[in-house]
């Protein structure tokens, strides 16, 4: 039987007027993206000319009694299902990637959870990189005033800084400093100054690189180095509650205990855990397991092909809003220790 192929879905988000559509226009000019389908929320001033362009209406199904992980944006879900159905029937070209452009005011979380919670979509699609555009002219003000804007930056896998040619270098640097405190690890492009590398933006995601240990090593090296920078002393602004940190645990981790702990943490504090990423040394597994979550949503854990280097410790990177690093570290350690000592005689 052929292995199932999951079509990656990239989300392009960013505040109103931050250049999402312009970025999309530049990306779609790349011949390598000819097999990419695009869903947009509204047709804006920037014209898009692409053979696989569809529109979604913006309504969200909020399930009354539901858990947050099942928040489904009804129209988005229907639009992607429709594309999938047309692809299967041969009515549209066999696209191999889908790019969704969100509205500027949208909280990215429900869009991501739709792909994972919808029973049809999660058998055909998987989440790829989230790309967030930030406008160098208005970015600092938007970050100060709009919580959605902060969240869009924190959940990004790639940041694209736009309109840097319209501001002084110092202003752009101040914005970059702020972005780095909110999200220390996402690679950042200055769209006005550098050519857009479509492959690096869209396709170099965790799932795609997990099987190549060299790429995975670079990914984690960057994460760990930059998350240390996130704890730098300049992070003591009073209103700046979002920060990043890395935890390192030696020795193999019990997968079930870890799952129990992270599930409990996300149940109570999910909206404050903007990102969690990590590479785990799981007991009974010869190769590491990568985990990756956004708020209440955790992607299916990835079984990496090999360890990226000689270091066998488990490494976790968090971006949190107002949660205490030392409590998180102590809590996880206490779960792992309590479980292992109690369970080891029977194991």
């Amino acid at each position: 039987m052929a292995e199932p192929v999951f079509t990656p879905i990239n989300l392009i988000t960013g505040f109103l007027g931050s250049g999402k559509t312009t970025l999309l226009q530049r990306l779609l000019a790349d011949p390598a993206l000819a097999d990419t389908a695009v869903l947009i929320n509204e047709f804006g001033e920037v014209g898009l000319d692409h053979h696989l362009l569809e529109r979604i209406d913006d309504t969200m199904v909020l399930l009354q009694s539901g858990c947050l992980c099942c928040t489904i944006r009804g129209e988005l879900s229907m639009a992607i299902r429709e594309l999938q159905s047309k692809r299967e029937r041969g009515q549209v070209p066999r696209f191999r990637r889908l790019v969704v452009e969100s509205t500027g005011l949208a909280d990215p979380f429900p869009i991501l959870s739709t792909v994972q919670a919808d029973p049809v979509l999660r058998h055909h699609f998987r989440l790829g990189n989230v790309i967030t555009t930030v406008d160098a002219v208005n970015g600092l003000g938007q970050l100060a005033r709009q919580p959605e804007c902060t969240k869009q930056v924190a959940v990004a896998d790639r940041l694209v800084l736009t309109k840097t040619d319209l501001v002084e270098a110092e202003a752009a640097d101040a914005l970059v400093g702020r972005l780095r405190r909110l999200n220390p690890s996402a690679p950042l492009w200055r769209a006005a100054e550098a050519p857009i590398d479509a492959a690096a933006l869209l396709s170099h995601d965790l799932f795609a690189t997990a099987t190549r240990s060299e790429a995975a090593r670079r990914w984690f090296a960057a994460e760990l180095a930059s998350s240390d920078r996130g704890d730098a002393p300049d992070r003591n602004r009073h209103d700046d509650t979002i920060h990043a940190f890395a935890l390192v645990f030696d020795g193999p981790i019990d997968w079930t205990l870890f799952g129990l702990w992270l599930t409990m943490l996300l149940n109570r504090h999910g909206e404050k855990v903007l990102r969690v990423k990590g590479i785990l040394n799981v007991a009974d597994s010869a190769t590491p397991v990568a985990i990756h979550g956004v708020q209440h949503l955790v992607h299916p854990p990835i079984h990496m092909a090999a360890w990226p280097d000689a270091d066998r410790s488990s490494r976790l990177v968090f971006i949190v809003d107002g949660l205490d690093r030392s409590l998180i570290e102590r809590s996880l350690a206490s779960f792992l220790r309590a479980g292992s000592s109690a369970l080891s005689p029977a194991a």
């Binding site: 019990d254 409590l327 102590r330």
Partner: protein, 109 residues
């Protein structure tokens, strides 16, 4: 079905990820699933004991979460365990609660 939302086919918790290439899961074959269920109950019980709750297997398809007075909730997966526990207790179950951490540290080696 997602027990909280009523979404058909909605339960796809990451701790029970469907076995497929590149994905780490213990949801592979019948034997491993049974072993994992037993291990999961043992692990969860180490924490739930601090809330006076017990977890047991139900027909190898769900879990039963019970209070000391016999109130019960059926739980599909770990994603629903803590929401169900909070519903039974009427208070939050917070892994960052210093009292819980101290008790877990005391119960460990």
């Amino acid at each position: 079905m997602c027990a909280l939302c009523g979404v058909l086919g909605g339960s796809g918790h990451w701790t029970d990820a469907a076995a497929r290439p590149g994905v780490f899961t213990r949801n592979v074959d019948g034997l491993q699933r049974r072993r994992e269920r037993g291990h999961r109950i043992a692990c969860a019980s180490r924490v739930l004991v601090h809330y006076g709750l017990t977890l047991s297997d139900w027909q190898a398809s769900s879990f039963v979460l019970s209070t000391a007075t016999g109130k019960t909730e059926l739980v599909d997966d770990l994603g629903h365990l803590w929401a169900a526990a909070e519903k039974l207790l009427g208070r939050p179950c917070d892994p960052l609660d210093p009292d819980l951490i101290v008790r877990l540290e005391g119960s460990g080696g």
